[in-house]
Amino acid sequence: MKRLLFAATILFSATTIAEVAIIVHPSNSNTFSDSDLKNLYLGKKKTFPDGSEAIPLNLEEGGDGRTYFNQTALEKSDAQLKAYWSKLVFTGKGTPPKEVTQDEMMKLVSSNPSTIGYVDASAVSDAVKVIKKY
């Protein structure tokens, strides 16, 4: 029984990672496909679908939200993503998205129309627009 409980705890702890909401400035009227989002976060595109400048923001390393976002939205493990970026960084072909805390993410996205970010779905307020949830 104890073992079963333990297994259940592990299962739940893996699924307790809340939903992640992709957020932009309320004035951003772009529609995003899954690959638009991937291309922005992998540095392959530097603009939103309408052609305006895009600044993707990343949560700081170590947070559950970031790992979850990498796995679901970008379909890469943390290590794979880091390997991907180290190749671009050391060949001068790209720099990874700026890393911020969840609070900073909310502030930046609500004040700068060029930014795009993601936060725990429970942290979303009216100051930002949710375009997708994972």
């Binding site: 170590g62 794979q80 880091k82 390997a83 180290s86 190749k87 050391f90 060949t91 001068g92």
Partner: protein
Amino acid sequence: MKTKLSLFFCVLLGFFTVAAKAEIQFSGYGSIVGGKVISGEEDPSGEIEFPVDFYDYAFYTEDFKLKPETMIALQARMDVTDGLVFTGQLVAKGADDFKPDIDWLYLTYNINDDWYVMAGRRNLPMYYFSEYMEVGYAYPWIRPPANLYWWEITQFNGLTVAHQMNWSDWTATVSMFAGREEREDIRSHDYWRNRGGYYFPPEGTYISGTADVTWSDILGVNLNASNDWIDLRFSYFTTQYETFADVFFRDEIDTDGDGIPDKVIERSRNEDGTPIRSGSWDVTKFDLEFLGLSGSFNFDFATLLFDYNLVKYDDAYSFEFPTYLITAIYNHDTWQPYIGYTKAAGKIKKDFDGFGTGDAEEHRMITVGIRYNFHPNASLKLQLDDFKDQGDRSPWYDFSYHNDAKLLSVGVDFVF
């Protein structure tokens, strides 16, 4: 080396003065690697060796060594003005006694979102992993297999113009590059020379010395296209290859036939006092053509890598050298076991001086290993390489310097 270093700091200082407000970002990468040959055949020098890096002349023997591949690199990146970025990399390698060297030094100018220009010293975009072949953290193996990545030239000084495009789910970059590279006093040529390589030293003769190699008029194109799960790359370039060697002979002569040398003659100078130096002819100066097709396929739990390349020498032998690799990686978050196969098979197409035509050198390598991502910025790797010479061993063309050997290596790759 000192002049290069001071140049690096002068340039850095110059940028600090010009753009006092510019933010400078430091990052870096490194590897601590140890290796040991666990079995194999002796080569003509009497050693069981396993070469891993020709550029830095690194190889392992039956004694465990940490020095050949251990290295650290520091990168400085600075936005000089709007759209203009300076990048410099200082690299210290065990194979080079940890003397810091400037491997990269270039400026990137972003003309707009779609076009950029890079000017300066960078890695030459040859094989799929060439541009970041020293960033161990960025690929599965401990090192890119030396079956393919065996050149003594890996960098160039020049210009790259790149254009980025998007259509549907695909993004593509096409770039053109031009430049030149010279390397002096290359030690790895010693390795070939004394192991039955192209100088064919008779028994009792030891030839040493260094070689200079120049790749001039490098001109090439790269096309990279990728979507969610496919990444493809085509590369092509031509260059004029030229090599000169300062040769030093040491002959041990056994006059009474008892197996003990009685007389040693050393020759490194011609009668007129000039160094014995190889001349410029159809075997040491020729046009070289490089063609590559490579890529990676990323599935849910696995990644497949392939790299096919063909090198053609327009030399007296019309030498052709196809190489390829294929690697499969299982992607668990923290554990990534991998298995790979590489093959190289050179052919002589034209008879030169009665040398004959046909298969010249052939070898394959099987690699198995595991990568353990134990830390967000570091991974531990354990790898076994099995190298087998499958070449022609006719008396005329003995390439036995490629001895069979198995290598066990362990390493930690990190980024910061």
